[in-house]
């Protein structure tokens, strides 16, 4: 998982977003009144339910679609999703846990060196884009694995991708490019 160098880069997954379906219509008002730790947003048409154990926030729609965010790993996300479905079942709905899919994984990683963003962008012209006035990071999109890497001049990068494997691959792929454009001197 590391680059060709011997150092190990810590890729820390900060957020996993997953969706699933419960295959039945949900009465949001009931959930809002009876459920524990719920926030009802009638203007958005959804109920937020927060779980403590895997720290998870779920947006529940009346169609039965649920988006589950805040997990720190894919397994956690699945566990949290099942717990959520269990809660809904206890509230009296005929839930069927189905179509669980991890949609997005967000990870951060820190390079041991600073990066010259302008050089980096120039080297990777079509794939990387950098608008300092808009955002302080250069965006590097890896199309074939559908991952996005945001590179900051401090050397920290954030990686988002459809799953954890993709994220790891993306880091691997981008590391040598970053290494080239590292700012000499310190770090």
């Amino acid at each position: 998982m590391d680059s060709s160098n011997d150092e190990a880069l810590d890729i820390i997954i900060t957020n996993v977003v997953a969706t699933f379906r419960v295959r039945c219509h949900l009465n949001l008002r009931t959930i809002a009144l009876e459920g524990n730790n719920v926030i009802y947003k009638p203007d958005c048409g959804k109920v937020l339910m927060k779980l403590r154990k895997p720290k998870i926030t779920a947006s529940i729609w009346s169609s039965g679609k649920i988006i589950c965010t805040g997990a720190t790993s894919e397994d956690d996300a699945k566990l949290g999703a099942r717990r959520l479905a269990r809660v809904l079942q206890k509230l009296g709905f005929r839930v069927r846990f189905s179509a669980f899919k991890v949609v997005n994984v967000l990870a951060v990683c820190s390079m041991p060196f600073s990066i010259a963003l302008i050089d980096f962008t120039m080297n990777n012209r079509p794939i990387a884009s950098y608008e300092p006035e808009l955002h302080p990071a250069a965006t590097y999109r890896i199309k074939h694995i559908k991952a996005t890497v945001q590179v900051f001049s401090t050397g920290s990068i954030t990686v988002t991708g459809p799953n954890v494997q993709t994220v790891a691959t993306a880091v691997e792929q981008v590391y040598p490019l970053l290494f080239e454009c590292r700012k000499p001197l310190r770090k």
Partner: protein, 463 residues
């Protein structure tokens, strides 16, 4: 029914009662009911209200006056006079007596008036109740002396203990156990504190006298426990006495005030080598903690044994004892300040459909609401559990949701089980990550058995 020291909450409630009763008067007359019925209703209402809230008023008042309440068993009603005579030394203040009905007895309650000059002589068999609801049964005639106010008091009394232990010799038999110490009685600026000390077995000891002789007697006097047999007081007292002074009145020996004597011993032994200066810095926390533990046990027994009506108060009181102690120490009844966690957590569930929606926290109310909508689900728990297995086969990659997926169930019943409730309207409820901020208005709060009314309340909580 209006007492001299009615708190603002009581005033509000009484005015509400007045309004309602007055507005009902005509209706009652129209119905053909006598005025008497209405008056009876009113009295009933007020009595119930006073009864449930009586302690609150008492406490409020007594913190300013004295928080010593005597509950006499029914059999003592005829000896009231005697008790009164001995208790009220300066007959300058009125004694409020509230006959309160408990399970089996009628208990007469006296509150010692403010400015009562201690020491107070209490005959045997009287049950004392402190403001926070702890019951103490006095088995032998005791003298309760009032400790001077302020923190130095503890240090001073500790000092006495210390000194007492070190110098058993100077103790003289001339110091009778029931010494009155008029010089000790500064009109207490913190009378509430005074009771703390007797309860904590730190009864006052005058600087000029050698105290240890009177001390244990005072100590047991102030802290009689209800369950005498359960403790082992005798060896403790004996032990203590051996170290201190051979001259003990037998009547003091027989007092079963183990907690205080144990405490005393504890403190004495701990402090044996420390200097006086350290007493002052010694935390009240430690003492209070010890006492709180004892009181918890006592309160448990009190709850089990005593038919007193402070059931609903012991529990919340216990939990809040530490707070009470601090409050009483500083002679300020804290009515504001950061709200407790339990209250705040309940509030986030309120639906926010209309701006002035009344957020009712009670689980019962919520259940009542949704009973009317129960049919719209068309589902019941039982049916869902049945369908669990049946649906399995159909969907792709689907596992049954079983109890392995259970969220922590235990918090749920406890969450709404509390007696602390706020009923109010909200101005704004805000959340950032897991920090909640509440801006509330026009509400009534029942916290720790007491009622509070507010026009504005601000709260913070973490989820």
């Amino acid at each position: 029914m209006l007492n001299n020291n009615t708190g603002p909450v009581a005033k509000l409630y009484l005015s509400i009662i007045d309004d309602v009763i007055e507005s009902m008067r005509e209706l009652f007359l129209d119905e053909g009911l006598e005025d008497r019925v209405l008056d009876d209703l009113r009295h009933l209402w007020e009595a119930k209200m006073m009864q449930s809230k009586a302690m609150e008023d008492f406490r409020k008042n007594n913190i300013n006056s004295s928080n010593f309440v005597l509950q006499l068993p029914a059999s003592y009603s005829r000896t009231d006079q005697e008790l009164t005579a001995s208790v009220v030394i300066p007959a300058s203040h009125n004694i409020h007596s509230f006959p309160m009905k408990t399970n089996s007895e009628t208990i007469a309650t006296f509150s010692l008036p403010a400015g009562l000059s201690y020491p107070v002589q209490i005959p045997a068999g009287v049950t004392l109740q402190t403001a926070s609801g702890q019951l103490y049964k006095v088995n032998v005639p005791v003298v309760v002396t009032q400790a001077p106010a302020g923190q130095p008091l503890i240090s001073r009394t500790m000092q006495r203990v210390f000194v007492g232990r070190e110098a058993p010799a100077p103790q003289s038999s001339t110091v009778p156990p029931k010494t009155t110490r008029p010089q000790e009685v500064d009109p207490p600026s913190v009378p509430a504190f005074s009771l703390q000390l007797p309860r904590h077995s730190q009864v006052d000891i005058p600087p000029c006298q050698e105290k240890s002789v009177p001390q244990p007697p005072q100590v047991p006097a102030a802290e009689p426990s209800q369950l005498q047999g359960a403790r082992s007081p005798e060896p403790d007292i004996n032990l203590e006495e051996n170290e201190q002074s051979p001259q003990r009145e037998p009547v003091n020996l027989s007092m079963n005030a183990s907690p205080c004597s144990q405490l005393l011993e504890q403190i004495s032994s701990e402090e044996a080598l420390t200097q006086t200066a350290q007493f002052k810095s010694r935390d009240i926390d430690d003492i209070l903690k010890e006492v709180i533990e004892e009181e918890r046990e006592k309160a448990e027994r009190a709850r089990n044994l005593a038919p007193a009506k402070n059931d609903n108060q012991s529990d919340p009181v216990l939990g809040l004892d530490l707070d009470f102690n601090y409050n009483e120490l500083s002679d300020i009844v804290q009515l504001d300040g950061p709200a407790g966690n339990s209250d705040m957590e309940e509030e986030e569930g309120g639906p926010m459909e209309e701006n002035d929606f009344l957020g009712i926290i009670n689980a019962e109310a919520i259940k009542a609401l949704q009973e009317g909508e129960g049919s719209s689900d068309g589902n019941s728990v039982s049916s869902s559990s049945d369908s669990e297995g049946a649906d399995l086969a159909e969907a792709v990659e689907e596992d049954p949701l079983n109890s392995g997926d259970d969220v922590h169930e235990q918090d749920i019943p406890d969450l709404f089980d509390t007696d602390n409730v706020i009923v109010c309207q909200y101005d704004k409820i805000h959340r950032s990550k897991n920090r909640w901020k509440f801006h509330l208005k026009d509400g009534v709060m029942c916290y720790g058995g007491r009622d509070y009314v507010f026009s504005k309340a601000v709260g913070e909580a973490e989820w």
